[in-house]
């Protein structure tokens, strides 16, 4: 499948950054056409920098990005005609109402007013914003403002959509409405590059994922690929007293409230489950979640901020 977006040895060093501090370091990615591609990583990992370079908002220091076959370095006009972006922490103009935000954005892009009106109505319906269409942005909650921005770009005629944490601040129902709209856009053969802090969201939406840390690519592939590449693809939770040393012989153990958490391989998971049940303990087991993989690879939770360019030893957990 052809790539909608591909980066080649992409590097970014911000002006004034300390020596050796790269926001992106030799990052090469292939983002297939017509799919949702998730970019995950902690704050400061380089997700937004990647999106801003690909969306022609920021210049790269090394390498380049091709969007729909055009080089961001010198073919930005051809790229801009076919992309749309919801930047991180962006907000709609507070004196507009919801309908105006979407409609005027489409008109600004050059759409015919009648077509802009039709697309606006569809997008507002799709994201359950119609009841708020005449509400001023200044009177909306943060979640509704974010949803309005999502409606704005989803209503556009762009082939590639860059969504930088589009669902931050949304309640679970609103998040799912945005998810559905993103899936629909993907079914229309549009490519969506999504960054998110919600790993369940990344997993639910993305056909492929890239995990980046300190500007470097740590893992890339389908969610199944990612599971297959971690050393311990199964997690077992044992409630009650089970000798830690015995458990540690099966894999990686950590203590949790009321018991132990073990990361291990599938046969060992079954073995541990059998032994735990023999002791009358309660267990739960299953494939690792994306959150587990992230913790395993990066060594820190996605909620923690990235401290800088230092590479984590935790990457040793990934099988080459």
């Amino acid at each position: 499948m052809a790539s909608a977006v591909s980066s080649v040895g992409l590097g970014k060093k911000y002006p004034g950054a300390r020596p050796g501090k790269f926001a992106l370091d030799d990052l090469s990615l292939e983002i297939p056409t017509g799919r949702v591609y998730g970019l995950i990583g902690r704050n400061g990992a380089g997700k937004t920098t990647f999106i801003r370079i690909a969306a022609t908002q920021l210049a790269a220091t090394q390498g380049t990005v091709y969007v729909l076959g055009h080089d961001v370095r010198n073919e930005e006009r051809a790229i801009r005609a076919r992309i749309a972006c919801v930047p991180q922490e962006s907000r709609p103009l507070y004196f507009l109402n919801v309908e105006e935000v979407v409609y005027l954005y489409l008109k600004l892009r050059g759409l015919d007013p009648r077509e802009a009106r039709r697309r606006t109505q569809d997008a507002l319906d799709e994201l359950s914003l119609t009841p708020y269409r005449r509400s001023l942005v200044s009177r909306l909650s943060g979640g509704l403002r974010r949803r309005t921005l999502c409606a704005m770009v989803l209503a556009s005629d762009a082939d590639v959509l860059f969504l930088d944490e589009p669902t931050t601040g949304l309640d679970p129902i609103a998040r799912r409405e945005v998810w559905e709209a993103i899936r629909r856009a993907s079914r229309e053969n549009r490519t969506i590059l999504l960054t998110t802090h919600y790993l369940d969201e990344a997993e639910a939406l993305s056909s492929r994922l890239a995990l980046i840390e300190s500007g470097r690519l740590m893992l890339e592939g389908t969610p199944a690929d990612l599971r297959a590449r971690v050393r311990y693809p199964y997690r077992v939770t044992v409630q009650g007293s089970f000798p830690r040393e015995e458990l540690a012989s099966y894999g990686k153990v950590s203590e949790i409230e009321g018991g132990m958490l073990l990361f291990t391989r599938e046969p060992e998971a079954h073995e541990v489950a059998r032994r735990a049940l023999e002791r009358g303990l309660r267990i739960s087991m299953g494939p690792v979640s994306l959150e587990d993989i992230f913790l395993d690879v990066v060594g820190k939770s996605i909620e923690e901020d990235s401290n800088g360019p230092e590479k984590d030893d935790a990457s040793l957990e990934v099988e080459s």
Binding site: R52, R80, C85, R91, L108, R109
Partner: protein, 248 residues
């Protein structure tokens, strides 16, 4: 983007940043009237009406300059707080379209103030074909260089609070210190030379000359036009080089 679409984009920016905010908050218009009318009132009281003509011509220049100071604040706010510029960059809208649309949108705020001053201009008997042509030309150039300056400055501001510092400073440097509200002859010799650094000195000189407040020979007028035009071109060139569409 076709020419038709470019025009549509410019008009949309005017609607988005000019017409709709005024509809929502009409006090914006009063805000732009406040400074030039305050100056006019002050001059009227202090000079017992003698210098009120300077208050009218100066008020027109100040109104157009205020378009620039408002624009730099809006551009900075939209870029840093709302990320509007990033949204527009990642779209078919080209930088000159954004520049033209935003500059024109700010002009909308100044139209009521300009209307008031035009009425006063006519009421004071200044309106002739020549004076109206000169005033219109000068207003366009002041608007253009004020907007070019706004785009350049907004590139360097990291927060809208920084514009709060620069807006009064620009007003001071371009309308209070230079002879916009008084004749240049009122300044001591060294200050007259210093005033030549400000483009508003030439703008005010042309308007004051056109309405007969100051003697202005044809050659002096030609020189004023040339210098004012050159200032505008240079400020546009600086804006074109320094203002960033894609961040480095």
């Amino acid at each position: 983007m076709s020419e038709r679409n470019r025009l549509r984009s410019i008009f949309t920016l005017v609607q988005l940043n000019g017409i709709i905010p005024i509809r929502t908050t009409p006090l914006y218009v009063v805000n732009l009237l406040a400074s030039p009318l305050s100056f006019l009132f002050f001059i009227y009281i202090v000079s017992h009406g003698t210098y009120v003509a300077y208050g009218i011509t100066g008020g027109m220049v100040l109104t157009m300059l205020t378009v620039g100071t408002s624009l730099q604040a809006d551009l900075t706010h939209y870029r840093h707080d709302l990320k509007l510029q990033d949204i527009v960059v990642a779209s078919p809208v080209e930088a000159p379209i954004y520049v033209a649309g935003m500059a024109l949108s700010e002009l909308v705020y100044s139209l009521p103030a300009l209307a008031v001053f035009v009425v006063l201009f006519v009421a004071w008997g200044f309106a002739t074909v020549t004076s109206l042509v000169v005033v219109a030309g000068v207003m366009v150039l002041v608007w253009a260089f004020a907007c070019a300056l706004a785009f350049t400055l907004a590139t360097y501001f990291k927060d809208v609070r920084e514009t709060f510092i620069f807006s009064p400073l620009l007003s001071l440097l371009f309308t209070v210190l230079p002879p916009v509200y008084y004749p240049i002859s009122a300044l001591p010799g060294w200050a007259q030379v210093a005033a030549r650094v400000s483009p508003t000195t030439y703008a005010a000189g042309l308007v004051q000359g056109a309405v007969g407040l100051q003697p202005l020979s044809l050659s002096a007028a030609a020189l004023d036009w040339a210098v004012l035009g050159a200032f505008t071109v240079v400020l546009f060139l600086v804006a074109a080089v320094k203002a960033r569409w894609r961040e480095p």
